[in-house]
Symmetry: C2
Subunit: 109 residues, 2 copies
DNA sequence: CTGGATCCATGCCGATACTG
DNA sequence: CAGTATCGGCATGGATCCAG
């Protein structure tokens, strides 16, 4: 009866980018992070890309943005409940990915 | 202690393309398919893209290619054992994806 | 029927510079 | 500190033609 996998495509449209998984993962590890902490963690990312990614994830309500107007002002990002649901899935995919490429490889991280 | 998610990136490098998920999914539904059957199922795909995707999946040993030199000759593709391991994962991601985007959306399939 | 080769199009990502 | 704007490159996907 041919189920479709529309959901997979949706999911990939959210987590399929180059950095989004990394962002979600770091947030999962640290519960909340400031903008610059994220930027430091994601070695090589630029402001443009980090902001773009954060906005996309915000739009999908996977992360939460909280602004502190104290001095000096800062912003903290954290996973929403929706975002946290992703963690076990990442772990499955991770295991799978490690298995997939273990024999043949030129793939380096 | 900061586990990394190298496996997720590997996995995405395999299933992250525009059509690869579709191909795997159709193979999962039909157990084996000929080249043209796949092409018919994947509405809109071109030869170039289909071949490129098939070759990539072959390289990762997720699908199997069997050639029949009868007349007219044809080729059949099927999932390998490795490829079949992906099916339950797709279902998880699918469920997840459907949930993620159910409230807000402009996303159409 | 199957699929390689070549060229073209598009979209994601990044560098740089600038703002509240 | 936390972004935005603009511009450009590069990777990936597609169209078309051709071959075993």
């Amino acid at each position: 009866m041919e189920k479709n996998i529309c959901g997979v495509k949706k999911a990939l449209s959210v987590i399929g980018g180059k950095w989004r998984i990394d962002i979600l993962w770091h947030l999962a590890q640290h519960s909340n992070l400031r903008y610059n902490a994220l930027k430091r963690a994601l070695v090589g990312i630029t402001n443009t890309t980090l902001n773009r990614s954060l906005n996309e994830l915000l739009a999908y309500q996977l992360i939460h943005r909280e602004q502190f107007d104290v001095s000096p002002p800062h912003v903290e990002y954290s996973l929403t409940a929706e975002g946290k649901k992703l963690i076990p899935v990442f772990e499955i995919i991770n295991y799978l990915g490690l298995e997939m490429v273990q024999k043949k490889d030129t793939f380096s991280c």
